[in-house]
Symmetry: C2
Amino acid sequence: MIRVGVNGYGTIGKRVADAVALQPDMEVVGVAKTKPNFEAHTADQRGYEMYAAIPDRAPLFGDAGVELAGAVDELVAAADIMIDCTPSGIGAENKSLYESYDTPAIFQGGEDATIAEVSFNARANYAAACGTDSVRVVSCNTTGLSRVIAPLQEAYGIEQVRTTLVRRGGDPSQNSRGPINDILPNPISIPSHHGPDVNTIFPDLAIDTLGLKVPATLMHVHALNVTLKSDVTVAHVRQLLEEESRIYVISEGMGIDGAGKLKDFAHDAGRPRGDIWENCVWGESIAISGRDLYFFQAIHQESDVIPENIDAIRAMTESATAAESIELTNRTLGVGITGSPVGVVDTDHSGVEAADD
Amino acid sequence: MIRVGVNGYGTIGKRVADAVALQPDMEVVGVAKTKPNFEAHTADQRGYEMYAAIPDRAPLFGDAGVELAGAVDELVAAADIMIDCTPSGIGAENKSLYESYDTPAIFQGGEDATIAEVSFNARANYAAACGTDSVRVVSCNTTGLSRVIAPLQEAYGIEQVRTTLVRRGGDPSQNSRGPINDILPNPISIPSHHGPDVNTIFPDLAIDTLGLKVPATLMHVHALNVTLKSDVTVAHVRQLLEEESRIYVISEGMGIDGAGKLKDFAHDAGRPRGDIWENCVWGESIAISGRDLYFFQAIHQESDVIPENIDAIRAMTESATAAESIELTNRTLGVGITGSPVGVVDTDHSGVEAADD
């Protein structure tokens, strides 16, 4: 059993902890948190040992009725591997803590690529992380791009990627973020930083990216153009994408015209938190003009990196091959919607199996 | 077993069906739907028999790979009771269908009060629905108001209720609704229709309501003023509300400042679709000035009427007392967050019980 510690129990950390707890080869040693808010109470309820991320604030937890197992350095000492899920920039501050205990660590995509030996996407470069002591799982957007670039490059070769990322302003609970009535070129400088981030996974890829932020909270949407090296058909590209376990090609007729209905679909299927771990590509949008491929995809910023974090643990500990890890992660989490209704994941948490009686 | 049919499988219908399926004394005979969109696929996956709400469109279901059990009139014939969850106004069109088969029916709050023998809220007037053949479960907002009015009236007496309802513009998936950048007095005429709707439950209550719509999708928020007939303290009111099984008083220190975090809390607790069946009253907001009581509450428009629909079934069939039905509905659905973390519902759909191993 790989003993995993999670530092930071917010949007990403709580999902990572739940995903680790579902793995047959891993266990959650504990989670560290800065303050005893509602998420701390739920962690407590779920049976995760709680550690104070800021030791001076430990008394606040007792006052709030949340029992502490210790301070974060004790968690780092006890863990075989730490997953840092703290806000962007804090991971860099924590790096020396992990190193001081010789505890390998996984960082998130908000950190600079230099924080770790390798930037990671399970589909694209699993092997590169094998045996390393520090890995950075790339951001939600870079993860989403990597998952489509890898199969396209393997099947057809890529001359150039040009992508416009229409990004949500904040998560549903981040009510102090904007914009609330604007469309922000962000960053205004072109190309955006997303292209270079994709290059941490595909060093030789020609990619230009443009970023914007809009008043939305549910998902990001990418408008992609990929100039391929081979002639292809829409049907062939569609089949290629449908065969990817972490890409869901939305069928025509499902009546899914945006992120709201995608989230409803995930909720109806009984997914935890309505999470959508897969890239969601609109099948109808796939278009070919010469060697230019175009399509839209939606990316759930809160959850698409979760399976990648799990796979990164197995890569670093060299406990599985890429194919083995991806299959196990997908199966335990329930990743993989196919185009047909048969593939809808139903974890039956609401007990509706009784409907058949 | 009470054989329940659900006509309309959208936001309310799918939740009602899942809730019925969880009841030990009920079963879902089938659900009727107008088109085979993503929700039809999920219903199929959950094992609900599917009926065509518009018989002419039956072929569309076959084309989409969704098997039909028949047309909606066959469902009405087979059911002991129908729950009409169709959009506002369609329920009135369906009334004669239910009557033609002598099938008792429950309608939703979007219909006129005249559609049914009684308008219903389990906490306030369960007995009024006993033995009737038609019931209207009042709207999400009226349900939310009834749940706080009932205990306040019983404990202190009420001289006057004045409420401002700051309403969400649409549900998260309703992306064609507005406003997107405005604050609409809606309806502009004062008082709004909400007060008279509350009077369908409390005929003699003095209540004035003002409605607005804002660019939000997650929940409604009510700003309440209740002039009481007795002198009270903040602590006494708080305790009174905390003792109500369908009111959640948000504790200070939970860090919950709006609907986004409330939804995150529900998601973290593993609730299906992140539903919040309870009124959510901010404990810090409870204030007293003379005999004027003030507080804020958030109402989850997609789900607070679901337990009420279940209780309405038992009232109409006279198969349980109000207390028995409310207790059973709460227990089977997981309704009832208490102020302490102990009360957080964890249906463990993500399997995190493994974290304790």
